[in-house]
């Protein structure tokens, strides 16, 4: 007997899917804003004069880059309560994504910073600017512009990776799909829809990030 596709059975669960998509988007936006913020701070720290600070950030980056996201998530959600640190699923999911993206973007942004011509830093210094001023006004903008495509890819990876957060019952898109197929017993249709939604989200995210990058960083250098 041939399988009979029935996508109409999804219709009843549309609100669940919408909630899932919204949660995935919310997790991604929060994770990205905070994660890239940590990345910028981390890259600045790796560039700083303080050796202990550089080592500490280096250790953080290596720890996160060499362990699975799922374990990081479990550690935060199931491990930390042993120390009395409890949080709701969504908060644990955001925190895990922030910690994860923070480490990767620290590395990515640092590569952009390393590509800054030394002469520009010296020009800033010779004008009497402080180290932090040079970082903020001279180094950061062009560095972000250079690494924006790589950072955008990492953000998409983190967005797709947020599906793992279904494992702690954060109600994002994958959680919604699992929930629906356990009710309607239509796994093909449900996961087909979930796949299409992730694909659409990824394409949309890339498009938004590319526009954002143009607006923020397409100045001077890129017009050459």
């Amino acid at each position: 007997m041939a399988y009979r596709f029935d996508f109409t059975s999804l219709w009843d669960y549309a609100p669940v899917l919408v909630h899932g998509v919204a949660t995935t988007v919310g997790l991604t936006v929060a994770g990205t804003v905070l994660g890239v913020g940590i990345g910028i701070a981390g890259a600045a720290a790796r560039n700083s004069a303080s050796r202990p600070l550089r080592l500490a950030v280096g250790a953080y980056v290596e720890l996160i880059r060499n362990t699975p996201f799922l374990v990081q998530l479990f550690f935060i959600f199931f491990g930390l309560p042993s120390l009395g640190i409890r949080m709701p699923e969504w908060a644990a999911a955001v925190l895990a994504m922030v910690v994860n993206l923070g480490a990767y973007s620290t590395e990515i942004i640092r590569a952009g910073i390393d590509a800054t011509p030394k002469g520009q830093v010296e020009a800033g210094a010779s004008l009497g600017m402080t180290g932090p001023q040079i970082f903020r006004y001279i180094i950061l903008g062009p560095a972000m512009g250079k690494i924006w495509p790589a950072l955008s890819s990492q953000i998409v990876i983190v967005m797709l990776g947020s599906s793992v957060c279904s494992q702690i019952a954060a109600e994002e898109l994958s959680f919604a799909a699992n929930f629906i197929q356990s009710r309607n017993f239509r796994p093909f249709e449900v996961y087909f829809a979930a796949t299409a939604l992730y694909l659409a989200l990824a394409v949309l995210t890339r498009w938004i990030l590319a526009r954002l990058g143009d607006r923020l960083f397409l100045k001077g250098a890129a017009r050459a």
Partner: protein, 244 residues
Amino acid sequence: MSLVKLSGIRKSFGSVEVLKGVDMTVREGEVVAMIGRSGSGKSTLLRSVNGLERIDAGVIEVDGECVDPGQIDLRALRLKVGMVFQQFNLFPHLSAGENVMLALKVVKRMGKADTRAAAEQALARVGLGHKFDAYPSQLSGGQQQRVAIARSLAMQPKVLLCDEITSALDPELVNEVLSVVRKLAEEGMTLILVTHEMRFAREVCDQLVFMHGGRIIEQGPPVALFDRPSTPELAQFVGMVEAR
């Protein structure tokens, strides 16, 4: 009264001593050209005066601001000393005007209107008042270097250091930069220039300094030095440059 006074400046990179005790005095309004073979320590000396290199021994005094090897914060020195580099070093993401305004804003903390006015004035001084909104990538090398000069001038330094500022330029662009420097000299700006433009040095400078092996081995009025070098090193250097 001397504006810049260097005494016993020493600087090593690793085990190589690049400056071996340099003494030099520059009076206010004086234009000094520094010449010498590549590797003789000219750039290192200039960078030390601007606080971009930390000296190992000696004292740098600019307009009453004293710097010795123990000095941690060199920003006070940098505010008195402007620097123009061979490679322009403009900030590529900022327009010409923004390049000039940045330090006025964040270092001098000038207000918006004042910053704008000072930047316009500085760009006008180098003949680029009409390029305020142009990005460095839209400017010729000569124009970029003039923006770099304007950027330094806007900070109102007591002395301007120029390290081979025409060496990276196509020959046809050299003169527009040199004429800006000539104008500054006429206006009474104190200048220390590392240059290979011997004719320019002869015409514009009050004092010529010849560096060799990390030391100043001759100095004096350019005509005297060019025409009657007293060391074989300078005689050879002059012969070499003029043969080009």
